[in-house]
């Protein structure tokens, strides 16, 4: 209280200085005064009150009209003062929420953690970066006892927390499938049932599941409406789309998925991605899939991990360092 009193005296002094000299220095100090008042949560009507008191002290014979008009101003400012206090409390709440979400995001990272396996003869690179704090994209590696490798890549239609929650569910249902049940089409059929049963209508998920067979040197895959990846045929020095038909997860209960198979030869490369890659936006324009391929080609001779990181950096910069969508890119190269 004594502190505030001091400030009122301080205000009076400044006001006097200003009225007598019209000094810029007094105005600068008034600015300091208002900042200090805000730090102490002093609302506008209180400042006006301080002003009225100071003015009356300095000029005891103030015309009644001026006095009344200042009271009128004070009344008018009450609602502003309330709005200001509400704003302060909402700002505190927002900070709380933010830190809560960041805890959740960390938890999600731990939940969805997948280790990039070391498979003889394969060079693997993977990157997944969320647009906001929580990731609605997901990839997962499953290495089998036979030296094979299962790769899942998925994208929830939608972003943010609901998408991230749905993803955690997918990961755990996948973990619960027995190893014998690793055929891509069967996995997608099972997941489709899980999603259809547990996720609210209107939320869909696309997913691609591939299985690399070490012994046969084949790549078997199925897709549930997922953004097609690319296959690089080293011999032909040619990229082609990994075309696979299939309905997105969660639409119909008994959806079946077709399974495709590709022979993998040394030097061949599998590129898997989510639409956060192909739907990068520059201003109002979506980039073309072809442009994505051009960028991938640019880094095709890099080690797989470095290549995916470089491609990400390229698109990150292209979008002004503000991702519009979660970005996930996986590159698997059969070593020569």
């Amino acid at each position: 209280m004594t502190n505030l009193k001091l400030e009122i005296d301080n205000y009076k002094e400044l006001l006097k200085q200003y009225i007598l000299s019209l000094d810029e220095k007094a105005l600068y100090q008034a600015e300091q005064f208002s900042k200090l008042s805000m730090q102490h949560n002093i609302s506008p009507e209180e400042i006006i009150n301080v002003h009225i008191q100071a003015l009356k002290d300095l000029y005891p014979n103030l015309p009644k009209e001026v006095d009344n008009s200042l009271n009128f101003l004070l009344e008018t400012m009450i609602s502003y003062g309330l709005a200001y206090q509400e704003f302060q409390s909402l700002r505190e709440k927002q900070l709380e929420l933010k830190s809560e979400i960041s805890v959740a995001a960390k938890m999600q990272q731990n939940l969805l953690l997948t280790e990039k396996p070391t498979i003889k003869g394969l060079d693997i690179g993977a990157i997944s970066v969320p647009a906001h704090q929580m990731n609605g994209d997901y990839y997962h590696f499953v290495s089998g006892s036979d030296g094979g490798l299962g790769i899942a890549i998925a994208d929830v239609i939608g972003k943010g927390i609901p998408a991230a929650l749905a993803m955690s569910m997918i990961k755990y249902s996948m973990d619960s499938f027995p190893e014998s049940q690793r055929s891509p089409s069967v996995i997608l059929e099972n997941l489709n049932r899980v999603v259809e049963r547990n996720v609210e209508p209107g939320m869909f998920m696309t997913m691609f599941f591939g299985l690399y067979n070490q012994a046969k040197q084949t790549f078997a895959y199925s897709s549930a409406g997922h953004e097609p990846g690319f296959y690089f045929d080293a011999k032909k020095n040619e990229y082609s789309e990994i075309a696979a038909k299939g309905l997105v997860l969660g639409v119909a209960k008994d959806t079946t998925y077709q399974e495709y198979e590709q022979n993998v030869k040394p030097g061949d490369m599998i590129v898997l991605l989510t639409d956060g890659v192909t739907e990068c936006r520059i201003g109002d324009r979506f980039i073309e899939r072809d442009e994505v391929l051009q960028v991938i080609k640019r880094y095709e001779n890099y080690p797989a991990q470095e290549a995916v990181e470089q491609v990400f950096k390229y698109f990150e910069r292209l979008q002004g360092f503000q991702l519009r969508d979660d970005f996930t890119l996986i590159l698997i190269r059969k070593e020569v």
């Binding site: 009507e45 209180e46 009150n49 009225i52 009271n71 004070l74 009344e75 009450i78 609602s79 309330l82 709005a83 206090q85 509400e86 409390s89 909402l90 709440k93």
Partner: protein, 133 residues
């Protein structure tokens, strides 16, 4: 707690009457200009809530003047629809009037004490107190 006086709220202009009576009492008790303005704004909010959501009701004043403290108690009561979720209407940022008006959190900020009793279908009573400092 000596005597109580009330203003019935039936039409919008009754809000002004409630403010006036509240301000007179606040002046009598020796509230400063800022607190008078705050009390008047709180009364406006309470009276407007009655006018908008209950249709009719009343704003009553009790002056508290004993040895230890002086204060003004403002009681808003109505037989309107009541408040379903009090926690919700006490949240900052919650609005049914499109952001005009300070809402009940505003009233709570303007006054020193605040209490609501409300039963859906029966009505609402809000008691607030401001102490003379």
């Amino acid at each position: 707690m000596d005597f109580q006086s009330c203003v019935n709220i039936q039409k919008e202009w009754d809000i002004v009457g409630a403010r006036q009576l509240g301000r007179d009492k606040a002046k009598e008790l020796g509230f400063g200009t800022v607190d008078q303005a705050r009390i008047a704004t709180a009364i406006s909010e309470l009276a407007r809530n009655i006018y908008l959501y209950a249709g009719t009701g009343k704003i009553c004043f009790e002056t508290i003047n004993d040895m230890n403290h002086k204060g003004l108690c403002v009681i808003a009561s109505d037989n309107g629809p009541g408040i379903q979720d009090i926690s919700l209407v006490m949240e900052d940022g919650y609005t049914t009037s499109g952001g005009l008006g300070a809402g009940l959190p505003g009233v709570k900020r303007l006054m020193d004490q605040f209490d609501i009793i409300s039963e859906p279908g029966k009505g609402t009573e809000i008691r607030t107190v401001k102490w003379v400092r």
